[in-house]
């Protein structure tokens, strides 16, 4: 177990180093930082002095080390567009994106698992077929189009829910939350529904196919033969065994959701990291782009690491396989 954890941890560090190398290369070679900092009338010798002073003439590996040092201290440079420190700007935006992502995943799990279990247990009922059809449409409908339709229905047509922004937010320390005010809660419904819809269909389809597979196995037949109640067999035996892949997928989806939030945030003008990143792309604001990449990479790597370790803890067969493979 410890060897496995250490190996995964080293792998995670390698991934982060690779990503920071990409971020550094972007930072260094895309756009000239000097021309962003000085006016057009600055003479060349002053520019060169500034270049020297900032260490831009140092050997590239040394510059990379400096960059890593800066990043570890939370110094990501200044936005080309606004001139503000990138870490401050991004930190302000993180709560909005995380709240949206977590609410979306929660909703997808709470609705998706029961739907999947139902259509796995009774594949021939019309409701299951309805779920299947809806899920297929859900996978094919682009997120942004779902958002646009929802805006049209709940905005101008019914005038029921706010269709842009976060509503009122409450500040708790550095964290700003919209989950404690009525307008904030109303505002999150449409974006979270849009963002969670794809995950919901994914979870539902996965649970369904896992259930169908597990229900065919011998130990389920044996459990029925032992005269256990349907409930005990379906939930105690079948569902429990489907949960390992489901948990993995949900974990990995949390990372995907953070990335997909870019689209949802654009549709609903949700003031999160994704919207910031999108604006950075449109304005070629490299420091913001590379920092977003780093922050998101940290999220992804952390999530992947936790999921892998959890997987190992939950599924005893994995440990057994490894022990057998190692001849133990």
């Amino acid at each position: 177990m410890i060897a496995f954890a250490v190996r995964r941890f080293i792998q995670a560090i390698v991934v982060l180093l690779a990503v920071s190398l990409i971020a550094f290369v972007m930072f260094k070679y895309v756009g000239d930082p000097i021309s962003q900092m000085v006016g057009p009338e600055t003479p060349i010798d002053q520019r060169e002095a500034l270049r020297e002073q900032l260490g831009l003439n140092d050997p590239v590996p040394l510059q990379f080390m400096h960059y890593l040092g800066d990043v570890v201290q939370g110094n990501f440079g200044r936005s080309f567009r606004t001139g503000l420190a990138v870490d401050r700007v991004l930190l302000e935006r993180i709560p909005a994106t995380l709240e949206l992502a977590i609410v979306a995943v929660l909703y997808a799990v709470v609705a998706g698992i029961p739907m999947g279990v139902y259509s796995g247990l009774y594949p021939d009922r019309w409701l299951s077929k309805f779920f299947q059809t809806v899920s297929l449409i859900g996978i094919s409908l682009p997120t942004f189009f779902v958002g646009v339709i929802l805006i049209y229905i709940f905005g101008p047509t019914l005038n029921l829910l706010p269709t842009f922004g976060r509503g009122e937010v409450v500040h708790i320390g550095f964290w700003s939350t919209g989950l404690l005010t009525v307008s904030g809660l109303k505002s999150i419904i449409l974006p979270a529904f849009t963002l969670g819809m794809f995950q919901l269909t994914l979870i539902m389809r996965l649970v369904r196919s896992e259930m169908l597979e597990v229900l065919r196995t011998d130990y389920i037949k044996f459990a029925r033969a032992r005269g256990l109640s349907n409930r005990a067999v379906n939930f105690g035996h079948a569902l429990k065994n489907t949960l390992v892949p489901v948990i993995t997928v949900i974990g990995l989806q949390l990372g995907q959701v953070i990335a997909f939030a870019i689209i949802t945030e654009a549709v609903f003008q949700w003031p999160g990291m994704g919207l910031l990143f999108l604006q950075a792309i449109q304005f070629a604001d490299v420091p913001v782009m590379s920092t977003y990449l780093l922050v998101v990479a940290v999220f992804f790597v952390a999530i992947n690491l936790v999921v892998d370790l959890l997987y190992y803890v939950i599924d005893p067969r994995l440990r057994l396989d490894r022990a057998v493979a190692q001849g133990g």
Partner: protein, 308 residues
Amino acid sequence: MTDTNTRLLYRIYDSDIGYSFRKSRIAVAATIVTLIYFLAAIFAPLVAPTNPYDLASLNLSDAFTPPAWVEGGSSKFLIGADDQGRDLLSAIIFGARMSLLVGFASTFLAFVIGVSVGLVAGFRGGMVDAILMRIADIQLSFPAILVALLIDGVARSVMPSDMHDTIALWVLIFSIGISGWVNFARTVRGSCMVERGKEYVQAARVIGIKSTTIMVRHLLPNVMGPVLVIATIQLAVAILLEAALSFLGVGMPLTKPSLGTLINTGQNFLYSGEWWITIFPGVALAILVLAVNLVGDWMRDALNPKLR
């Protein structure tokens, strides 16, 4: 010649896969829909009522004409006109053409990169394999949309801004293609490792055929089945990605709109009630993606030996 062709066609029709295709109504319907899209895209200049790129023919007084069956609609614009007085149906047909062009080209790019990497990694093994697959793992831990957005963004920062519109198509193909190679590589590598040990490969090696020839002529045809399935699914993914990028304003420009661009322009008019400008391109996109997905689904099941 024609005789052998008909016999080949009959053999395909009569094969297991042909049978499972005929039996699945959904697959047949999805294929027909997909083909209609392909044909409409290829022959767009002939099929579309007007040429949406011809800015001179546009008349601003036609702007916001609703669909023909709605009050105020005109038979000239069957499903309405957009904010510039462009016939929406023509815009959608040409938009689908753009979407499919980017979809196919980027899928092809992903295919070429992925299959080459997979063949080399699976055939050579060892260090090469380890390095290539680590790169694939790292990329796979990032969602395709993020990779595509990032490449798109970097390309935009490097290029001068007045060139953005002219190179948008190439940037899109490149960024979506790069974001999609990993699945090809992993699948090909997996099948390659199985095939590598088989006798026909050993025989080819013994008689001294070059490794590259073995990879391309002997291994590749034997791993094509799963690759085709992935290519179909990747096509749907690529079309969606392109639409998303265009919707976000970093894809196809307004002068050469794809379906995503059309949806993006249309959403500005939702609040003033001109719903058709965004809804119809969206529906067209959704049906296209759904049809391609269904074909892919059927292919995956039909080619999966476990389900036979």
